[in-house]
């Protein structure tokens, strides 16, 4: 059963074995507005937890997307480059950014579950 986790930088992870699929949350896409551009990492690149891995731009803002766990990029969702609007319409589905092979699954313990994230964003406004 795939596990879902969230970060306080508004990223979600869908975990399948030792690979996590990563995107930004629906809350994040709403804050950003219409997404116009994404810059995705190259497969094979290694990141530490917290490193800047991708950039997402809307008309009025730009935001870094951080690697939520340490690991190596497996795949990037290149379709987003042609159709960034998917991030707005389906942020937590087709709008995924990249998949990353985790080197330390223990890092997941530091992240929030769905309920925890809901509380987190409720506290923000």
């Amino acid at each position: 059963m795939a596990e879902v986790k969230f970060t306080d930088q508004h990223e979600w992870l869908l975990i399948d074995g030792d690979v996590a699929k990563v995107g930004i949350t629906d809350y994040a896409q709403e804050q950003l507005g219409d997404v116009v551009f994404v810059e995705l990492p190259q497969p094979g690149t290694e990141f530490n937890q917290g490193d800047e891995a991708a950039v997402v731009e809307s008309v009025k803002a730009a935001a870094e997307v951080y690697a939520p766990v340490t690991g190596e990029i497996v795949e990037a969702n290149n379709g987003l480059e042609d159709d960034p609007a998917v991030i707005n319409s389906d942020a937590q589905g087709e709008g995924w950014f990249f998949t990353i092979k985790m080197s330390d699954a223990g890092e997941l313990e530091t992240l929030m579950d769905e309920a925890g994230y809901k509380d987190f964003i409720a506290g923000l406004d």
């Binding site: 116009v36 551009f37 810059e39 731009e57 809307s58 008309v59 009025k60 803002a61 730009a62």
Partner: protein, 450 residues
Amino acid sequence: MRYLPLTDADRQAMLAEIGVAAIEDLYKDVPADALLDAPVDLPSHKGEWEVERIIGDLAAKNLGASSVPSFIGAGNYRHHIPASADHLIQRSEFLTSYTPYQPEVSQGTLQALFEFQTQVSLITGMEVANASLYDGATACAEAAMMACRVTKRSKMILSGGLHPHYIDVTATNAKYLDLNVINAGVDPNRDEPAHLAGLVDEETACVIIQNPDLFGRVRDLSALADACHEAGALLVVIVNEIVSLGALKSPGEMGADIVAAEGQSLGNGLSFGGPHLGLLATKEKFLRQMPGRLAGETTDVDGKRGWVLTLSTREQHIRREKATSNICTNSGLCALAFSIHLALLGETGFTKLARLNNANAVLLADKLDAISGVEVINDTFFNEFTVRLSKPAEPVIETLAANRILGGVPLSRFYPKNDAVTDLCLVTATELTREEDMDALSSALSEALA
């Protein structure tokens, strides 16, 4: 005072409405000992004619280049600006408007910028251009840093044939960043493109070369472009006499990746060196690393075509320390003047103007070369060339100036300690150079070198 509409009665009424007794109450946050209780020690206000007299007196102490035979170029060029250009830029709606942040009330500025961007792309042979930078030298620096961002490398190779101010500004901008600036050194005798091609390696972000170069030489840069691309480096081409693009192959055609240029020659007078106009043009694939503002086409809610500032996420007001540059205010009105002038010239006018500049320079070069003690060292040139004199050039130029002829720029003005260039002088002709001016320069030079 003529610019202050409030009357004392207004001020009293307003203070009362605010609920304070005096203006000083509104300055209560200023530390008491820092709040001045009297005007600063400078003259008090003056009417228009007094101001005109003071400034007129300062102007009278100068020798204006439009009033005497003038052959000075070296990065700023004296050209004819059509009367309607200067008239149009003084329209209130252009002169006193601001950056087009609210596009619904700025379509004039935005349409003009879109036209400007198109013109710059066309003459440079590049895919996209921005809405202006401060000047050619800072555009050169921005292009260098852009190349480093694009290639993720830090070594930039600067041709010695670059305008020395451009070299200095680029080096200054790179000074506190982790970048490696290689100055290939000034050498008027060297095959510069071949020399630079030999310096390019896998660590090079860019090679920056000027065409025509400091000495006025014109080259085909295609081979250098190939050498750069083979090593994964970018070719940055600098143009500081923009009229040359009417007669030369465009940098884009020659394989340039980025073009940084000075646009002053069109629409903008000399004005003692500023304000001028930086141009930046590049390939679409580098667009997101491009500094400066961009006007883009779109439609409004009624489906009508219009323009907006776009891709602002590259810029400082959104990206802050991660911006492509810190630039905010640029050279809007100078860009408009350029655009209007080029619109007035059109294809036939621009190309003819360029041919006229080159032809006048050829006539002048032949005339000067015939003088004993003067040798034109260029095989190729556009409207500016270098002469070698039989004496140090700077005192000769001073003598000419005392005789009300502005003869050119001695290279020692840029390189005061370089003995190899002491006898060299840059000389320019434009469409404004008349035969009698050329004759005046000829006789004055002959006399000075006798």
